[in-house]
């Protein structure tokens, strides 16, 4: 295995030369004439919307495509000067280590230590060399306390750090991170980028991160390659990207614009001089004009003395609650209690987020609300029906549930049939089945995909289809588990606007989420679940002012909230609201 110290023997760590790649049996190329150069020791970001070919590019660099999984390629893709098209993956792996999106899919051993040493054992290193590399990466990735733990005891962020550590132990000079945080909660995301930053500071490893949510990573990188529809739309430093293409990032390319950049751009539009456009992050001091900060000095002091009320959001009205939970407890057969004495009232037309750390019981709670699990004690009443006494058909007309992985719900061979299945299950006449299914598909913009297999849709389309399937019964409320999970800005925004439109029709919308931007921008009420109990019930604004609670629930405020607290002493939930606060609007 070559040492990373040899990296400078090559001009470029990764170089694409007019690289074009076609998937097997596809006429249109997935990657089109892609050219870029990443120097040794650089931290590069390959960004782009879902389906732009980012992950395919990684698999091509690794020689898995077109080699192992076929396909056709033209041009060349070089890793440290050698073509990936003419080398087997196990040889390329000496130069390039890759960490995939889902930590669960890439771990092949039972304990942290076993996973880290696995590659070293395969490369037949001596025991003393293995021990020394193990110690090194345990410290670098802050995994020493987890060393003997089973991988099943770890959170998503911890597992992804184990995956990174196992690659670092191999001392691959180039580390390719393929959307390493898209499956993680905000705390996990922070852990991973913190680890990457430590690696960058302590070694000369070339790091290539593939990502569509660039808020956390943009301030860290030296170089951005933007892929749009399989072609390079931009290749250069991040400052240049923001200077020349900032407006196109969300609207044309479906990327999350860093909130700090968004705020700075809005201030520029209002005539405020910002000398250096921030690339992201959550601090305002480095770039916000001093006079604006000084102007809010008084507000910060006042806010410190007047913390926002900790009272729960007022959801009591004269109407009977649409959903009522009383003393709800749920345990497994083994006696492990997952939900403890939860009581809750929800009115029709509310939009609620359920947040909390992994394993807190959020999904269990929502499954109890829709009758997929039955309470050990207590009761759940939805629209006047007790979940343990109503039939699935009756409950399906009151409340719908959309799972985290849309594929779990699919049962038909075409998109049209998938939606029609629900209507048929309600014993509607054939004519009504066809018209209802068509109307549902047109509403979510999938009518033109009606003959496709549901598994062949993009992630965003699958998510919208799974929602449409559950809405054919016209329920009064819907619960979505991680609706924005793994989606780019455009798909996530389309879905959440659709949820808002349902909410405006007086339907209750509840989302289980780790996405704090979603919580800040869309919901009116937040429930925080920790250890199977609801520990907070209030507005997002109130939640973001409770640092101890946020820490206990492993939640991190979105950058705009952190920035507004720093600048004005009170939280703003959107970039527009923060700019308004800064400039004293209204």
């Amino acid at each position: 295995m070559p040492s990373s110290r040899e990296a400078d023997a090559y001009a470029y760590a990764v170089e694409a030369k007019s690289f074009t790649y076609w998937h097997p049996r596809r006429e249109v190329a997935t990657l089109k004439q892609v050219s870029f150069r990443i120097r040794p020791g650089e931290f590069a970001l390959i960004a782009g919307p879902s389906g732009s070919g980012k992950s395919t590019l990684g698999l091509c660099a690794l020689g898995v495509r077109p080699g192992l999984l076929l396909g056709r390629a033209e041009g060349d893709l070089l890793v440290r000067g050698s073509s990936s098209l003419r080398r087997p993956t196990c040889k390329i792996a000496d130069d390039l280590g890759i960490v995939f999106q889902s930590p669960d899919d890439q771990i092949s051993n039972l304990t942290v230590e076993d996973e880290i040493v696995f590659g070293l054992e395969n490369h037949q290193l001596t025991r003393s060399e293995i021990a020394s590399r193990l110690e090194e990466v345990l410290d670098l990735c802050r995994l020493r306390v987890y060393r003997k733990r089973s991988v099943w005891e770890l959170s998503g962020g911890e597992k992804q750090r184990v995956a990174i550590a196992s690659m670092l132990a191999l001392k691959s000079p180039v580390l390719w991170l393929d959307e390493p945080t898209s499956n993680l909660d905000s705390a996990g995301e922070y852990q991973v980028w913190d680890t990457v930053e430590r690696i960058r500071r302590s070694s000369d490893t070339t790091i290539i991160a593939v990502q569509h949510n660039i808020d956390h990573v943009l301030p860290l990188v030296d170089h951005v390659v933007l892929l749009v529809d399989g072609a390079v739309a931009f290749d250069g430093p991040p400052a240049e990207l923001l200077r020349t293409h900032r407006w196109r990032l969300p609207s044309d390319w479906g990327l999350w614009l860093p909130q700090a950049t968004d705020v700075a751009m809005r201030l520029q539009d209002r005539g405020i001089a910002i000398t250096t456009l921030p690339h992201g992050g959550a601090a305002v001091a480095p770039w916000l004009p001093t006079e604006l900060l000084q102007h809010h000095e008084g507000s910060r002091v006042a806010a410190k003395n007047n913390e926002p009320s900790a009272e729960p959001a007022d959801s009591t009205t004269a109407e009977a609650p649409w959903l009522e939970v009383k003393d709800l407890t749920f345990s497994y057969g083994s006696g492990t209690r997952l939900i403890s004495n939860v009581s809750l009232s929800v009115q029709r037309g509310e939009m609620i987020a359920i947040v909390g750390p992994n394993g807190a019981g959020k999904s269990t709670l929502t499954m109890l609300l829709v009758g997929l699990l039955q309470p050990t004690r207590g009761s759940v009443v939805v629209g006047g029906l007790r979940t343990n006494r109503a039939s699935p058909a009756e409950l399906g007309r009151k409340i719908a549930y959309v799972f985290q992985y849309p594929e779990h719900q699919f049962i038909a061979n075409t998109v049209l049939d998938e939606v029609a299945h629900g209507v048929r299950a309600l014993r509607k006449p054939m004519a009504e089945v066809a018209t209802t299914a068509e109307a549902a598909l047109r509403r979510i913009g999938l009518w033109e995909w009606r003959d496709r297999h549901p598994f062949n849709l993009s992630m965003g389309q699958k998510r919208r289809l799974s929602v449409a399937c559950m809405l054919v019964t016209e329920p009064d409320g819907i619960i979505l588990d991680e609706p924005t999970f793994g989606q780019d800005w455009l798909s996530a925004t389309q879905l959440m606007r659709f949820m808002q439109s349902l909410n405006q029709e007086n339907r209750t919308v509840m989302v289980v989420t780790h996405d704090m931007r979603l919580v800040a921008e869309y919901v009116s009420r937040v429930l925080v679940v920790v250890g199977g109990a609801i520990v907070f019930d209030g507005s997002a604004e109130q939640l973001f002012c409770k640092p101890d609670l946020l820490k206990a629930a492993q939640l991190i405020q979105p950058p705009v909230v952190q920035m507004s607290l720093e600048a004005c002493g009170r939280p703003s939930l959107t970039t527009a609201a923060f700019v308004g606060s800064l400039l004293g609007d209204g």
Binding site: L62, V64, T89, C90, A93, L96, I98, F100, D104, D105, Q106, I107, S108, N109, L110, V117, F118, G119, L120, E121, N122, H123, Q124, R127, I130, L134, K148, S150, V151, W152, A163, S166, L170, T336, S363, M367, V370, L372, S391, P392, A393, E394, G396, Y401, F403, Y405, E407, H408, Q409, F410, I411, G422, R424, A425, L426, R427, F455, C469, M470, T473
Partner: protein, 260 residues
């Protein structure tokens, strides 16, 4: 929400934890041969008592943990016992008369013995699984000449079983919620649900297998015919003696009580 099937290895310092996997395998095979070949109810009770006592005394695991494991095979053991009693034809005085058929004492005890055999085997299997790190088993088997490329499959199975079980549970729930009630009879619905479950699981497992194969390839798995093992399996003498004694005891038991 992960499935709660706890069949995993747990670290420990018990006699079985210190014994190498091959010695434990010898014990398991020897005892299994004896159990499978004993068709006498009293002998089978004795063997169950011995295998349960060894499991509880030498593995450091709680009775509750064994009960959780045995529970999983209990339904199978009972149905095996009933099926056995129905299929065995042994003459003698009728002790239980049912509309289906009449049972003699021998038919009932033989059926019961078959069920007990299953429970005894469960104790043996669990005492091995709870105390043997799959990595050590893979290493021990590799030392006997089998390629690590195949033996690591045992570790992979244990890594992916909980994921697969949890996913199957979620898919089943997701399909149940889309059913909206009965549009077909329960058997048809069950069969269709099974078909949908399999399609989803196979599609997702193939995708997962593709990623895992890449991840293992990158880590050089299968690149060379041999690999280093960071932790060498320790060949603990008392464990080896125990294996030899278990073989001796099996032979003695067979000779003394004329098994069968």
């Amino acid at each position: 929400m992960a499935a709660r099937v706890d069949l995993a290895y747990r670290e420990g310092t018990s006699f079985f934890h210190r014994t190498d996997p091959m010695s434990k395998l010898v014990y398991v095979i020897a005892a299994s041969v004896l159990i499978i070949n004993s068709f006498n109810l009293v002998k089978q009770f004795s063997l169950l008592a011995i295998s349960a006592a060894i499991a509880l005394l030498l593995t450091g695991q709680s009775p509750q943990r064994y009960w959780a494991g045995v529970k999983l095979v209990l339904a199978l053991a009972v149905s095996l016992g009933i099926t056995g009693a129905l299929l065995i034809d042994k003459p003698g005085p009728v002790v239980v008369a049912t509309p289906l058929r009449n049972f003699t004492y021998r038919e009932l005890t033989d059926g019961f013995t078959m069920g007990l055999q299953f429970v005894s085997l469960a104790f043996l299997a669990l005492s091995f699984v709870y105390t043997t790190h799959p990595r050590d088993l893979s290493q021990a088997v590799s030392k006997w000449g089998m390629s690590y490329r195949y033996t690591h499959g045992m570790v992979l199975a244990l890594v992916f079983l909980p994921i697969l079980l949890a996913e199957a549970g979620n898919v089943e729930k997701a399909h149940r919620i889309r059913d909206f009630g009965a549009t077909m009879n329960p058997l048809q619905r069950r069969l269709q649900s099974l078909r949908h479950l399999m399609v989803t699981l196979v599609a997702r497992s193939l995708r997962r297998a593709e990623t895992l194969a890449c991840a293992m390839d990158v880590k050089g798995f299968g690149m060379a015919p041999h690999r280093t093992y960071f932790k060498e399996v320790e060949w603990w003498r008392p464990g080896q003696v125990f294996a030899v004694l278990s073989v001796g005891a099996t032979i003695a038991f067979a000779l003394l009580f004329n098994t069968g």
